[in-house]
């Protein structure tokens, strides 16, 4: 049986189609090509022709054209559309014309840069010219660094290395900076949220240094499909870039199947395990000998997938060695071996985290099964793009988990299939991020009076502030670095949360099983808490707040713990507010104080209260930006009249909005948090706060303010689609947590504020 026959068989199988919410087929598309421009260097042209590239796809030709006009661009085309040539062509052309020309390539990860090198090396070798390309990252041996600095034409690196290893030592890179003609930023959409906000500042520093050396590199950026490529590029790069998105690459026929595992407990809204279901779906493909890639959202899930896949292989009497896992934490050699195995067909199936989502070359696979929504539409397309490159038929199956995001997507495939609503959001002017990089920039080059860093109008005030703190000193009309530290060392670009508590299992020695941010730690890891991890119970013996470590031990008990959190929001600084139906929406800066006060032990099953205890932990204070939605006070009474409960409703809405919002923000659920307040002292009414977990915020609050109506709509849809009775983790949260009236009240509130409920019967009566 081949893939086509297998698909035919699946279509006929009711056990499969029953769970399919949408079977979408993207028809094959032919290539749209144009001839090489006459100005193309003949050597480059011959090398490409020798590799089967006889013409250029539309977007590739456009890239060359824009580059020759000296215009910055952002290329937005799907996976496997020959995007890399969009920058390799202009760069190689420039290097052939001028042997002094230099280019800097920036990739978000190390593994990826390795791969890009291979393609570039291949072309250069075929041309038999002396264009030197080097990767410069943490693995680069010290002996090679000098050569790279002085003679590398193309230097491939990542933002971390640029930040710590190159910019603070720019005087050792004079050749590169004086002659920098191109800056290539691939996987632009990857730079969002906290990481993106940092990278935007690293690029500000880079361009500032270029200016010092008299160069002005042309920027070629590439991105997966997002809703705001031009806007995102402008914020990230600090320059406006032309969007080059007319894809000329061909595509094979592709099936996108949305699969929702069957419900096993309707009351609690629990579905069959996404992992088991994904592994089960892979089986017929394995049996037919079709190559499959499976994506799992975490390392643990990937290992589980692997276990099930190996079982399948054994029961199919095939070698279990032909199934492999791929994730971070594997050695580079092991990764290369797996990549080769996939390309050459020795490996039949691979279970991977998003590590394989980026453009690592693993050849053309036929089937992609995603165990859970990848978190963003862009990532999901990239994962789906792993199956079927340019020719032939391919399949991508999205298997939903019970998480609200997954459930939303699976019920609304159009969200995924129509033009994406996802915006990459960054805030390069987040004060804490900006301050860190302003220091780095001052270390690199003195600031001139009146000079602006990025488009921040606060630069000179911040420089004065640093001068008062003796970090800088003013001399003549410049600010000079005067501290004895190396500021780049203190900046952690990738971690969203500044501090985490590490969870150590002491049952057998000392094993780190996870970590969590301070806010959650207060609630979940206080002493005597029962901490749930992968469905297992652990007793928290000790929480060492100074060392930020929690020591836990495996137990089996018949209760769980529920901690009470006292939250206080203060120093509210409202940036913008607007009246909405039955209330008001706003965004601004908040100061948040949280303190876990006590906990209850609650018996499983019966929910009897078995006792309580105090929690002795310090208050946490946190400044960030928040969106908030305030409801008219009068609604409380009205709800009571309806037999509903305001508190339950707000809790439910908070959960629901907190889970749905990331859909539109390209954020992880952990990037946002919500607090319902029945009566907020600041606004005076029932208020729901959705705030950015990163201190100072990276732009989510503002965006949520704009998206309020869209969010309400999405939340209402999620509620309608959810089959549970009184609430489940897929919508308002379990009714145990949010209250038994949570779902009903949340639904009523959404209907009312969206204008679907005119007024209550009681009100009508009163009015009558």
């Amino acid at each position: 049986m081949n893939l086509q026959q297998l698909l035919g068989h699946l279509r006929e199988s009711p056990g499969f189609t029953r769970n399919v919410t949408r079977w979408h087929t993207l028809e094959a598309q032919g290539p749209r090509c144009v001839a090489f421009p006459a100005s193309t260097d003949p050597r480059l042209r011959r090398a490409l022709e020798a590799r089967g590239v006889e013409k250029l796809y539309l977007h590739q030709a456009r890239a060359l054209e824009l580059a020759s006009e000296g215009r910055d661009q952002v290329v937005v085309t799907p996976t496997a559309s020959g995007k890399t040539l969009c920058y390799n062509l202009p760069v190689l052309q420039a290097c052939l014309e001028d042997s002094e020309a230099r280019a800097l390539y920036l990739f978000p990860t190390k593994a990826l840069s390795q791969d890009q090198m291979n393609e570039l090396h291949g072309l250069i070798e075929a041309m038999e010219v002396d264009i030197k390309t080097y990767t410069f990252d943490g693995d680069t041996p010290a002996a090679a660094r000098r050569t790279i600095r002085s003679s590398g034409h193309v230097v491939v690196t990542n933002p971390d290395m640029l930040h710590q290893g190159i910019l603070p030592h720019h005087t050792a890179w004079v050749k590169l900076f004086e002659n920098l003609r191109f800056l290539v930023v691939d996987e632009l959409h990857h730079y969002r949220g906290v990481f993106g906000s940092h990278v935007a500042n690293v690029l500000r520093r880079l361009l500032r240094i270029c200016e010092f050396y008299g160069s002005r590199p042309l920027i070629i950026a590439c991105s997966a499909t997002i809703a705001n490529p031009a806007d995102h590029a402008a914020r990230l790069l600090g320059r406006s870039a032309v969007v080059n998105d007319e894809n000329g690459a061909p595509r094979g026929r592709k099936h996108l199947i949305f699969y929702n595992p069957p419900v096993v407990n309707a009351e609690l809204g629990i579905r069959r395990s996404v992992i088991k279901e994904a592994a089960r779906l892979a089986r017929p493909f394995l049996e037919t000998g079709v190559q499959v890639i499976l994506f799992g959202r975490s390392r643990v899930r990937v290992e589980l997938l692997l276990t099930y896949l190996k079982d399948s292989m054994r029961s199919l009497k095939r070698s279990a060695d032909r199934v492999r896992a791929y994730r971070g934490g594997y050695l580079p050699r092991e990764r290369r071996e797996i990549e080769r195995g996939l390309r050459e067909g020795e490996i039949l199936a691979v279970a991977s985290t998003n590590a394989l989502e980026l453009g690592i070359d693993i050849g053309q696979l036929d089937v992609c099964i995603m165990a859970g929504y990848a978190g963003t539409v862009a990532s999901t397309w990239q994962q789906a793009g792993r199956a079927g490159r340019r020719r032939g038929e391919s399949v991508a199956i999205l298997v939903a988990s019970s998480a609200p995001l997954d459930q939303y997507i699976i019920e609304h495939p159009e969200f995924f299939l129509e033009s994406t609503p996802e915006q990459a959001i960054i805030d390069p002017d987040n004060l804490s991020i900006l301050l860190s990089h302003l220091k780095c920039a001052a270390f690199e080059l003195p600031f001139a009076e009146g000079e602006r860093f990025g488009d921040s109008s606060a630069t000179s005030e911040m420089l004065d502030y640093l001068t008062e703190h003796r970090v800088l000193s003013r001399s003549g009309d410049r600010y000079h670095w005067m501290a004895d530290t190396y500021p780049a060392e203190d900046v952690s670009m990738r971690s969203a949360v500044i501090e985490n508590v590490v969870i150590v299992d002491t049952s057998r020695g000392r094993e780190v099983i996870g970590e969590t941010d301070l806010l959650s730690a207060q609630l979940l890891l206080h002493e005597d808490a029962i901490y749930l991890h992968q469905g297992r119970q652990y007793h928290v013996d000790q929480l060492d707040w100074d060392r930020k470590e929690a020591y836990v031990r495996r137990v089996q008990v018949n209760y769980y713990t529920d901690a009470q959190l006292k939250s206080e929001i203060h120093a509210l600084d409202c940036f913008e507010s607007q009246a909405v139906a039955h209330g008001e929406k706003a965004h601004g800066e908040i100061g948040l104080i949280t303190k876990a006060t006590m906990f209850k032990k609650i018996k499983l099953g019966t929910h009897e209260n078995l006792g309580a205890g105090r929690i002795h932990l310090p208050e946490l204070e946190h400044h960030t930006t928040s969106f908030w939605w305030t409801l008219d006070e009068s609604l409380d009474e009205r709800m009571r009249g309806e037999g509903l409960n305001l508190g339950d409703g707000l809790k439910g809405l908070a959960h629901l909005l907190g889970q749905v919002a990331p859909l539109f923000l390209m954020a992880d659920p952990g990037d946002l948090r919500s607090i319902p307040m029945v009566r907020s002292p600041q606004t005076g009414g029932p208020t729901l706060f959705l705030y950015d977990t990163y201190p100072g915020g990276v732009g989510f609050a503002r965006r949520l303010f704009d998206l309020h109506a869209v969010l309400q709509e999405a939340a209402a849809q999620r509620l309608r689609d959810c089959a549970c009775a009184h609430g489940c983790p897929s919508c308002v949260g379990s009714s145990l947590e949010a209250g038994s009236l949570s779902k009903a009240t949340a639904a009523w509130l959404l209907a009312l504020t969206r204008g679907e409920v005119e007024s209550s019967p009681r009100e009508r009566m009163q009015r009558g």
């Binding site: 000193s473 000079h480 780049a488």
Partner: protein
């Protein structure tokens, strides 16, 4: 209900207050006025320094003649023997040392004081340049570059990885060419380290001055405080010991000249005799490797007077090693036997002897005897130390040698 919540600009909390949450310490006091460094520089200027230009763009220059030994007294062989670059041309030698705002590499570390001792034939001149504030860097570096220009050799202590890279960086930032720094460079750190590593706690200059040169500093400021003194001048306009920093820097280069001369006498003269035995052994090893076998053997001979038997044995073995390479097998045997006498349990010595007998002196019975002795020595060692005695696989190697010898001698000896 929403009073006072209309659109406002985000400046209700001042930027300063918001910045304060990311800064560990509060500012000492608000200081927005420009810092005047003139008063703080008075003491330094009074020391006979000379202004080049004026504040903020100028720099200070301090010059004095110094008497130095004639360069002709320095043996030309010294540079090669100490592993240093040879001078190029007849220009002056320039002994150099810097003071900086920190130890970090990277562009942000400011070099604010450079001492340059120009050592020409028969005369010396010590010049120090001081940067009163960063705006004067252009003037400062132009002057420093001019001072180094034409030098046939730059002499420093750890200048290869510390002073010169930082100087180049700051010169580049001021757009001053650093070609003057690219000539031959004698960094005294490595030749010094070789002669002090066995007996001094570290090879920091201050330690070397005390231990090797017998010098004590009389100044009251440790070098590590120099950055803070300079930062105080820049950020508060206070003089917290600028003269002491200048004096420290001055002493550095003067002591460097002494170190240079001492090293020359150690590597080329007889000053090595004053070194501890262990240092002599280290030096002998280096010189032998550089082909100066005769001198090395002389140094090794001097170690024989040492009370440390192990050290004596090491000296004999090292001598034997070089004698054997020179083809003097009989002398090598003598040295090894002497080593065995100094250290009767010496396993290495026995193995060396066994090799010498087997391969060079072709005395198989003695090779066999030595191997057996080594093997039983190893077994005794193992009885004491457990499996950790001897190197991994050593007994296998010895057994292998023993069997080979027995084969070559015609069967196991016991069966004869």
């Amino acid at each position: 209900m929403m009073e006072g919540m209309a659109k406002r600009s985000p400046t209700v909390r001042s930027l300063r207050d918001r910045l304060a949450q990311f800064t560990a310490s509060p500012p000492p006091d608000r200081r927005t006025e420009k810092i005047d460094r003139r008063a703080a520089l008075e003491a330094l200027v009074a020391r006979g320094t000379q202004w080049m230009g004026s504040l903020p763009e100028g720099c200070l220059r301090i010059e004095e003649p110094v008497s130095l030994p004639a360069r002709a007294e320095v043996s030309t062989a010294f540079f090669a023997r100490a592993g240093l670059e040879d001078p190029r041309g007849d220009g002056p030698w320039v002994v150099l040392d810097t003071e900086t705002t920190g130890l970090e590499s990277g562009t942000g570390t400011v070099v604010f004081l450079v001492a340059l001792l120009r050592w020409s034939d028969g005369e010396g001149r010590l010049v120090q340049y001081f940067l009163p504030e960063p705006a004067g860097e252009s003037c400062f570096w132009t002057a420093v570059a001019r001072e180094v220009e034409g030098a046939s050799l730059v002499i420093s202590y750890n200048g290869k990885s510390f002073d010169l890279p930082r100087m180049r960086t700051r010169m580049r930032l001021s757009r001053i060419g650093a070609e003057a720094l690219e000539g031959p460079h004698a960094d005294l750190l490595h030749p010094t380290r070789r002669v002090v590593t066995s007996w001094l706690a570290s090879s920091r200059l201050i330690e070397v001055e005390r231990g090797l040169l017998g010098l004590r500093r009389t100044e009251d400021l440790p070098g590590s405080q120099a950055p803070e003194v300079y930062r105080s001048l820049q950020t508060e306009g206070r003089d917290r010991g600028l003269c002491a920093v200048v004096e420290h820097n001055r002493a550095d280069v003067l002591h460097l000249v002494e170190l240079f001369c001492r090293l020359e006498r150690i590597y080329c003269g007889s000053a090595w005799r004053d070194l501890p035995a262990e240092a002599r052994l280290d030096l002998a090893r280096v010189l032998a490797r550089r082909g100066e076998v005769d001198d090395a053997l002389e140094m090794l001979t001097s170690v024989r007077g040492s009370e440390d038997a192990k050290l004596r044995a090491r000296a004999h073995r090292l001598a034997a090693h070089h004698l054997r390479r020179a083809g003097e097998h009989a002398r090598a045997e003598g040295e090894l036997l002497a080593a065995l006498e100094a250290e009767p349990a010496g396993l290495d010595t026995r193995v060396q002897l066994a090799k010498l007998y087997e391969h060079r002196l072709k005395d198989l019975p003695r090779a066999h005897e030595m191997t057996r002795a080594a093997l039983s020595g190893l077994h005794r060692q193992r009885e004491w130390a457990g499996a950790s005695g001897g190197r991994v696989g050593e007994d296998q190697a010895l057994l292998h040698r023993l069997r080979r010898l027995e084969r070559r001698m015609g069967g196991p000896r016991g069966e004869h």
